[in-house]
């Protein structure tokens, strides 16, 4: 256990980066997921096609591939620049990859939520003169969102763990630090494993419990 305790400051720093990656990507993928689902249910065939193509393309690609595309394709080849500081630059490229990837899952969760909202709700909204966007924003999405809190929690947990893929483009989060520690502290591989696993449990277990509680609290009674 000494190897873990000695390196605790570095480990905590790495976990803090994991938390930042998770939180920022979660917000962006929620917003992007809402935009995507609006496209997928829109009355315009072009928007529907674009939304469907996005979800099918991105959801079925490996995250590592998207991460490397973001790091090498966007960052190096297309010279997308966030900062001259390399660690900040890689951090934001990782956020782009994580957000693009998880938005497709958020979109599909929301779409299944929309299917739980009875047709009559949308009809009543149309009948009082709400436009399509007002209908979606005020009536459909609020109810759909409440129906899929628990699945969204699962996506957040997956996102938390998937941030480790950012190691592939050199972001100094937990997975990268763990790999480095294995090299420095060769005799303590098992304690280091356990230490990091516990670290992730501390992040993800409460997430699951909180979303379970939230889902019950916000459920729409019909």
């Amino acid at each position: 256990m000494d190897a873990v305790i000695e390196n605790l400051p570095a480990i905590l720093d790495a976990f803090w980066l994991t938390i930042k990656l998770t939180a920022i990507s979660a917000v962006i993928s929620l917003i992007l997921g809402i935009v995507l689902v609006a496209m997928r249910v829109s009355p315009l065939p072009v928007l529907r096609a674009v939304g469907t193509a996005y979800v099918n393309g991105v959801r079925n690609s490996p995250l590592t591939l998207i991460m490397l595309f973001s790091g090498l394709g966007l960052g190096t080849v297309m010279s997308l620049k966030f900062s001259d500081d390399l660690s900040v630059q890689d951090f934001w490229l990782a956020i782009i990859a994580l957000s693009l990837y998880h938005a497709s899952f958020v979109c599909e969760a929301l779409r299944s939520g929309i299917n739980t909202v009875p047709m009559g709700q949308a009809e009543a909204a149309r009948a009082i003169g709400l436009t399509f966007m007002q209908n979606l924003r005020l009536i459909i999405l609020p109810q759909a969102l409440r129906a899929v809190i628990a699945p969204l929690g699962s996506i957040l947990i997956a996102l938390t763990k998937n941030t480790t893929v950012a190691a592939a483009i050199g972001v100094g989060e937990t997975a990268l630090l763990m790999k480095n520690l294995f090299e420095l502290e060769g005799d303590s591989v098992i304690p280091i494993f356990i230490g990091f696993a516990i670290g992730f449990l501390i992040l993800t277990l409460p997430t699951g419990l909180f979303f379970g509680w939230l889902a019950k609290r916000l459920a729409v009674v019909r």
Binding site: G120, Q121, E123, A124, I128, V220
Partner: protein, 236 residues
């Protein structure tokens, strides 16, 4: 006008005119096209041929113009369709605030008057699921009235209600009819038709079979199809 659902011809050669202030009850066997006709008037159903004029103008096909038309045509559904995640007060004020641009304070004041009129002002802060069916339907009528509609469509408003709650909803509708609201009511409530309707339209197999005054229709229907229908519902 004409409408098909696939190979089913649900509205055949429909030609109907409703005057301002008139109360028209549409009656007939289920599957006869009554609800479809009702829903076509605010374009919740589209029609294949023919045209519908409201206030002398053809129904807009889509977009903001259609939304504006719908805001002028109230609709009350069989299954109430109150917004489940909003309180009764929010249900009634949503349209005026978001569609008409009324200030929240004014919208709430008017909503309370309307809820008081339909007898459920004390339920304003509750959610739809906390109300009885009759109370929910009265809230839905208040929601329609809040838009100051030129006409209200009622699509079987009492069919989903427990028997003891039917009258409280009909009372509200009778009062509206007496105040001169233009109404089209799809219903099987003979009592309502007799007391409040100016005209009964009997529909079967997608056609308007008979148009008559309520008294004439119920006591002395002109067509065999209507007589047959009435004998089935009035004998028990």
């Amino acid at each position: 006008m004409q409408k098909h659902f696939g190979s089913l011809h649900v509205l055949r050669d429909i030609n109907l005119n409703i005057d301002r202030g008139e109360v028209v009850v549409v009656i007939g066997p289920s599957g006869g096209g009554k609800s479809t006709l009702c829903r076509a008037i605010n374009r919740l159903e589209t029609i294949d041929e023919g045209r519908i004029l409201f206030d002398g103008r053809p129904l807009p096909e889509e977009g903001r113009a259609l939304a504006r038309l719908r805001s002028d045509v109230g609709m009350v559904f069989q299954s109430f369709n109150l917004f489940a995640h909003k309180t009764i007060m929010e249900n009634v004020t949503l349209g005026p605030i978001k569609v008409r641009g009324v200030a929240r304070e004014d919208a709430e004041k008017r909503a309370l008057e309307l809820l008081d009129r339909v007898g459920i002002a004390s339920q304003a802060q509750k959610y739809p699921a906390q109300l009885s069916g009759g109370q929910q339907q009265r809230a839905a009528i208040a929601r329609a009235l809040a838009m100051n509609p030129k006409m209200i469509l009622f699509d079987e408003p009492t069919s989903a209600l427990d028997p003891e709650m039917v009258q409280e909803v009909l009372d509200v509708m009778i009062e509206l009819a007496q105040e001169g609201m233009t109404m089209m009511v799809v219903t099987h409530e003979m009592g309502f038709a007799r007391r409040a309707a100016n005209r009964v339209v009997f529909m079967a197999d997608g056609q308007i079979v008979e148009e008559n005054t309520p008294d004439e229709f119920f006591t002395n229907a002109r067509t065999d199809r209507a007589k047959d229908f009435l004998s089935k519902i009035l004998t028990h």
